[in-house]
């Protein structure tokens, strides 16, 4: 019988449907775009009376209580484009929503319980493990979105930070200039008002005088707790420890300051003009030779 059906379908009219629709049916997944005949086939059977008769045969009595059928019809409906997924699903959704609103009103009028109590547990359609998976997926998606958001924010911030930094630098240089200017003004005023040269010399500190214009030199003063080669500005040894081992710490500090600790050794071990000219520790002749030999052996 099935074969007969198939043959009946293959009437010659099927040959001529337009190429646009047939090109749409590429694969199984894209079967939402359904191929149709461009015009209805004329041989198709449509026995309306027979259909209505069958309907009368199977249908339940008309005066049946609504609770048996639980069916709700949508009254009016706007046309929806089938290929617009969002509009289509929205239409289905609204149909369902309107349906249940009506249904719940109906249920309420009957007076029987219809809402599931919160303490009613029973087997669900989907298992707990499956729902766990669903939840995991939702969470993962949420996390992904958040992360991308954060990344975007960081990117924006970086851009902004550059501007802010530039602004700050500008301000700083401006302030510096202003300060120098004001000091110069002040000095001029002092000179005009006739102060001692000596006093002025004494006050002639960093600005304009020797030191500010000289390149940076390392002071030879020994700073307590800072090794000579330390470049961390003395912060390395003060690691932010507690006061518990003060005594030990002090002696250690002293030793460190005396002998040096940490930092680069390179500068200490390099020859300078002084060390090359200094023959203080140099021993001539045999001893060193002997030593060398011993080493070689």
């Amino acid at each position: 019988m099935m074969v007969a059906d198939e043959l009946a379908m293959m009437n010659p009219e099927n040959e001529d449907f337009d190429p646009e629709t047939e090109s749409e049916s590429e694969d199984e997944e894209g079967d939402q775009q359904v191929v149709k005949l461009s015009e209805p086939s004329k041989t198709a059977v449509y026995n309306k009376d027979g259909l209505l008769e069958r309907l009368a045969d199977i249908s339940w009595p008309d005066d049946l209580d609504w609770t048996h059928r639980l069916s709700i019809n949508r009254e009016e409906q706007e046309e929806v484009d089938v290929n617009d997924d969002l509009a289509r699903e929205h239409s289905f959704y609204t149909q369902g929503l309107e349906g249940i609103r009506q249904a719940y009103v109906n249920f309420q009028s009957t007076g029987e319980p219809f809402l599931r109590p919160s303490d009613y547990y029973a087997e669900m359609v989907k298992s707990d493990t499956h729902m766990e998976k669903v939840k995991g997926r939702l969470l993962a998606e949420k996390r992904r979105i958040e992360e991308s958001e954060e990344r975007r924010k960081a990117r924006d911030n970086k851009k902004l930070a550059k501007d802010v930094q530039a602004q700050k630098m500008k301000e700083r240089t401006k302030q510096k200039k202003q300060e120098i200017e004001s000091v110069k003004k002040w000095r001029k005023q002092r000179q005009q008002s006739g102060f001692d040269k000596e006093d002025a010399g004494g006050l002639d500190l960093a600005f304009n005088g020797g030191e500010a214009n000289k390149p940076y030199q390392r002071s030879n003063k020994k700073r307590p707790g800072v090794s000579p080669g330390d470049r961390s500005g003395g912060k390395a040894t003060f690691g932010g420890k507690g006061k518990g081992f003060d005594k030990k710490r002090k002696s250690r500090e002293f030793k460190d300051s005396k002998f040096g600790f940490g930092g680069r050794k390179g500068l200490k071990k390099q020859n300078t003009a002084d060390t090359t000219n200094d023959f203080g520790g140099f021993h001539k002749g045999d001893r060193s030779a002997k030593n060398n030999k011993r080493v070689k052996r």
Partner: protein
């Protein structure tokens, strides 16, 4: 039950007629009541004893099998059966099977070539049957469908307005109500309503959706006011599919054809056409080549007078 009572979808009038003879076969319920009372109750109490046999053909693909299992989990009033060989004579075997299982309707998933799914929906002893082509299948297992609802709670069935416009849609609607609706007071059904099934006709296809109703209420009171109704939302549970009706037959799995979809094109034809289009490619190329050759021969190039100008 002593005897199987006949199908209950007979009309009220018919019951009235036969009700007079009823007391003869009193084994259980008709002992003490008078004939008058029996008549009354039998008219008033309608009992939906729908039972659906769900089966599939052999060589069904896993996706379609999952769809079938999803439907089985949605229909507490169904019986799942073994796979059936999809032969020409399957109608007879299926009818027998349905009778054997004492079901009143049947959903038969027929998979052909491992890719086309046909769904037979039949009312069984003598009712009509419909053959659909199933498209756009999404099973419940998909993680995108996040809803969940009680297993066996009765669904609310909603139908779009165009179901009442044409006789074949009317018939389909009645069949959907009877087959997908869980009978009232079915022993496996739960007493609460927490999902809704949407049947909608769009583009001459029936679209099936199943939503969970998520309603903000405290379970203690069974009252819902306007605000609650406004706040209600739906979450899709699945499965979703789209049914393209091909034919409606008068009998179950056979009988006279009552309706035939005038727009239907079989997927086999679609594929063969596609193939034909692709097959023409080489022939076209050869044709183009020969055409070009002929063209070149018929229009020879002029001799260039400056061709050997720089030869000397």
């Amino acid at each position: 039950m002593g005897k199987k009572r006949k199908h209950t979808e007979t009309e009220a009038a018919a019951i009235e007629e036969t009700a007079i003879e009823r007391p003869k076969r009193t084994l259980l319920g008709f002992k003490d009541g008078s004939t008058e009372e029996n008549k009354e109750t039998s008219v008033v109490t309608f009992r939906n004893k729908e039972k659906v046999l769900v089966t599939c053909s052999r060589r069904i693909s896993y996706r379609y099998r999952h769809l079938m299992l999803n439907l089985v989990s949605l229909l507490p009033h169904c019986k799942k059966d073994n796979k059936v060989e999809s032969k020409d004579s399957k109608g007879a075997t299926l009818n027998e099977l349905v009778e054997l299982k004492s079901c009143s309707s049947c959903l038969f998933f027929e998979c052909r070539k491992g890719k086309d799914l046909y769904l037979w929906m039949a009312k069984c002893p003598n009712g009509p049957s419909v053959k659909f082509l199933v498209n756009a299948v999404h099973t419940m297992e998909e993680l995108k469908l996040t809803g969940n609802h009680l297993k066996g709670s009765r669904p609310i069935l909603t139908f779009s307005s165009n179901f009442d416009k044409q006789p074949h849609w009317k018939l389909l609607k009645e069949m959907f109500i009877q087959i997908f609706g869980t009978p009232k007071d079915h022993r496996k059904s739960k007493p609460f309503y927490d999902h809704v099934i949407v049947f909608s006709i769009l583009d001459d296809h029936v679209w099936f959706r199943n939503y969970q109703i998520s309603c903000p209420h405290n379970g203690a009171t069974q009252k819902i006011d306007r605000g609650d109704l406004e706040k209600m939302t739906l979450v899709e549970v699945g499965p979703r599919f789209c049914l393209n009706p091909i034919k409606i037959f008068g009998g179950s799995f056979g009988g006279p054809t009552l309706y035939e979809n005038p727009f239907y094109v079989a997927p086999n034809q679609i594929r063969s056409l596609e193939k034909k289009q692709k097959a023409g490619k080489y022939a076209k190329k050869v044709k183009a080549k020969t055409r070009r050759k002929i063209h070149q021969l018929s229009n020879p190039m002029e001799v260039d007078e400056f061709a050997d100008m720089w030869k000397e």
